[in-house]
């Protein structure tokens, strides 16, 4: 069952210390309105799992500036100088993950898989502390599944059954994250009646979604 709620209600579901997957790529396809509400609530000590920490003036970037994040598991922090500053000052823990590995670790978490074997990161600092497996004479790194308490997604359109449609390049990490969290909240530009999204066009089936929130663009 999917319920339509308000931005503030959505933000209140994120408690101090929660692990939160957040969709988006430098903020494009990110639930930026819900994040604004998280900033108002000033929820603390979050573990964020996301592609990047955006820019200081948008989305996750603002959570960084407002010091609401304890740890971030991301692929890239170069677009937000404040993330680097907090990391160097020991205020924010950063785990850098190759982008394809991040996507597959989340997919594994949501797909009931025990891990991912990849060559990305071999003979680099990424392999430190990880198991290496020889598969048919080739080395692979074992990367562990990722799950979270909450996934905050952004979709262009939802129907009232929670089926999601993403426009353009906004899809990015949203569909995999929908599968890997205990609670899934999707911020959407538009909410339509059941039947108005053709089943052929559904990119995330509503069974993965608990709440939808009308966001502002």
């Amino acid at each position: 069952m999917v319920e339509i709620i308000g931005l503030q209600e959505a933000a209140e579901m994120v408690s101090d210390g929660a692990s939160v997957m957040i969709g988006g790529f430098i903020g494009v396809g990110g639930p930026n309105s819900i994040i604004e509400a998280l900033i108002e609530n000033n929820v603390k000590d979050l573990t964020i799992i996301s592609n990047d920490t955006v820019t200081p003036d948008l989305g996750i970037g603002k959570l960084v500036v407002n010091k609401q994040i304890k740890k971030a598991i991301v692929t890239h922090i170069g677009t937000n100088p404040e993330t680097g500053r907090q990391m160097n000052a020991g205020e924010l823990e950063i785990e850098l993950v190759p982008q394809g590995t991040l996507a597959e670790r989340i997919r594994a978490g949501g797909a009931g898989l025990g891990g991912v074997l990849t060559k990305a990161g071999l003979k680099t600092p990424v392999e430190e502390g990880k198991r290496k497996l020889d598969i048919n004479g080739q080395d692979y790194l074992l990367e562990m599944p990722l799950k979270a308490d909450i996934a905050l997604l952004k979709a262009s359109k939802a129907d009232k059954a929670g089926n999601l449609y993403y426009n353009g390049a906004t899809r990015n990490f949203n569909p995999v994250m929908a599968t890997a969290a205990e609670l899934v909240i999707a911020e959407v530009d538009e909410i339509v009646e059941i039947g108005e999204i053709n089943p052929n066009d559904v990119m995330t089936p509503g069974i993965f979604v608990n709440f939808i929130v009308k966001g502002g663009r």
């Binding site: 790529f25 494009v28 692929t75 922090i77 982008q99 996507a103 597959e104 990424v126 569909p175």
Partner: protein
Amino acid sequence: MEKAQIIETIAKRVAKELNKGDVVNLGIGLPTFVANYVDAEMQIIFQSENGFVGLGPAAEKGEENADIVNAGGLPVTILPGGAFFDSSLSFSIIRGGHVDKTVLGALQVDEQGNLANWMIPGKMVPGMGGAMDLVVGAKKVIVAMEHSAKGKPKILKKCTLPLTAASEVDMIITEMAVIEVTADGLVLTELGPETTVEDVIAVTEAELIISDALK
């Protein structure tokens, strides 16, 4: 050479490495200029790791679509025949060997084809983004960069910075040279405009094998 001329020289030369119908991923920065020198008749399909193939030119002013950006977050276009997908499929394309060529910048490259381009410990740690997956998965890895950092060699005997990947680089293209990475070491195959072998050696730390067919 002026900066703009350096970029043009490198980008034009990289463009010659692309074959008709190739699926190509261009890194952020200098590599993006390669697209400017690719003829439409080549039918190159550019991949954008944030989730599409059929990447077109930058969006015209006033025509930007906030939902269509490249991996650097800049507004771009998608060409007819293109397709959007999620990050998981995007990296299946990348890691799975479905990208013919990837073109990236580098901080350092060495004689074994090792690449360092994602961090300088204690100074600059932007993160690897999709670079580690790209260099491991693409069929051919082309490093496109300025030959040296203001005279300080970037093509080394052995990389000193943390690696992006080991032994994955196939070719290095700079404003001064085209260098192929082989089992025997680095082979200098071409010289840039108004450049001599001695000029190249002077700003290269790695041992260079001079090709018999040097152009």
